[in-house]
């Protein structure tokens, strides 16, 4: 809330918590992360996600999750965690010859 025009009681509430928003474009597809927003409670978060992220028919379903509930890898670990995969091309299944009868792999 904007404290300047809220009168008595202004400043007593902390900023609304942050939520991550996931939208499913159509049935059968997965929910994709599309952004975040502030909302006071779960129901408001769902409604505001609908209003902010699906106003141009982007979705048929929304998920929201409190941002502080997400456990993320530490950016400082990026080299240790992810760089070693760079030279492991053999982990891609590109060295197999597929039988003719298998069309869409």
């Amino acid at each position: 809330m904007n404290a300047s025009n809220q009168g008595p009681g202004a400043g007593t509430t902390a900023e609304w918590p942050l939520w991550e928003v996931f939208v499913r474009a159509k049935a059968g597809l997965d929910h994709k992360h599309c952004g975040s927003l502030h909302a006071p409670d779960p129901k408001a978060a769902i409604q505001l996600a609908r209003d902010v992220y699906t106003r141009r028919q982007e979705g048929t379903s929304v998920w929201v999750v409190r941002s502080d509930q997400i456990v993320a890898s530490d950016p400082a670990d990026k080299a240790m965690y992810f760089d070693p995969m760079e030279d492991k091309v053999y982990r891609h299944p590109t060295f197999y010859e597929l039988p003719e009868s298998v069309n869409h792999m």
């Binding site: 008595p8 009681g9 408001a44 209003d51």
Partner: protein, 261 residues
């Protein structure tokens, strides 16, 4: 400056204009929040809500123009009438961002009007006028969301902090004198009900009260007793705020006739 149009106001035309103008003017007031709402997310939500109402107004004004038969389209009806030819509820023309009103007034008004429109759309679903029934059927889904969104805010603020509860109760006291008009019948309502064009205003009172009873209870709000004051926007007699609203709504079309994007 473009001159105002003159209308052949049959009861049917009046009946449809009352609904269309209520949606139009409600949308105009909500649009005033654009860029000013307390938080960005709700700013977008209010704009969405206003645009839904504007869409409903467009369909209804287009239809009213056809019924009127004078060749007036939605734009002509929206922009080129004089004040006494608008027939919206007075409640929706009252300021939302000045004159002591605030965010609580906004959500409360959205809640009151959405609950009223929901009852009205339901009554119009069986209208003898198939176009009107189709407009109502489409609007029903939009209005259900408006009601849920606004009712949640009424509860959140009414049953929130001491300050938010005080503000919501004050908003209710400001709005309440204008609520009586929502259910105030006249000859136009009687004609609409008799010819099965749509429900008379008085028949909306019970379902409206039923749909808001739980909301007000959860929000710990006590509606004031009904007083003797009656507003008459639906009959073309408006508050002092209407003229200012129309100046802003109309000035572009009046100054640049037929201007388009």
């Amino acid at each position: 400056m473009t001159a105002s149009i003159r209308l052949q106001l049959t009861p049917d035309v009046r009946y449809v204009l009352r609904i269309g103008d209520t949606c139009l003017v409600h949308a105009q007031r909500l649009a005033e929040w654009c860029g000013h709402a307390p938080v960005l997310e709700e700013d977008i939500a209010l704009a969405n809500l206003g645009l839904d109402l504007l869409g409903q107004a467009r369909a209804l004004l287009t239809h009213a123009g056809r019924l009127e038969g004078g060749g007036h389209d939605e734009d002509t009806l929206a922009f080129l009438r004089d004040e006494h030819d608008y027939f919206n509820l007075t409640l929706v023309e009252l300021p939302l961002r000045s004159g002591g009103a605030d965010f609580a007034d906004t959500q409360l008004r959205c809640c009151i009007v959405a609950a009223w429109l929901a009852c009205l759309w339901q009554g119009l679903a069986s209208s003898r006028d198939r176009e009107l029934a189709a407009i109502a059927a489409k609007a029903t889904k939009e209005t259900r969301y408006h009601l849920e969104h606004a009712a949640d805010w009424v509860v959140r603020l009414g049953d929130g902090s001491d300050a938010s509860a005080r503000r919501m109760q004050a908003a209710l006291a400001r709005a309440w004198p204008y609520v009586a008009e929502l259910f105030d019948d006249d000859a136009v309502d009687a004609a609409a009900a008799a010819s099965r064009l749509g429900p008379a205003a008085s028949t909306l009172r019970q379902p409206w009260q039923a749909s808001l009873r739980a909301v007000f209870a959860e929000a710990r709000l006590a509606p004031p007793a009904e007083g003797a004051f009656r507003s008459h926007g639906r009959r073309g007699r408006h508050s002092e705020h209407m003229g200012y609203l129309l100046v802003e709504l109309q000035h572009l079309q009046r100054a640049f006739p037929g201007g388009v994007w």
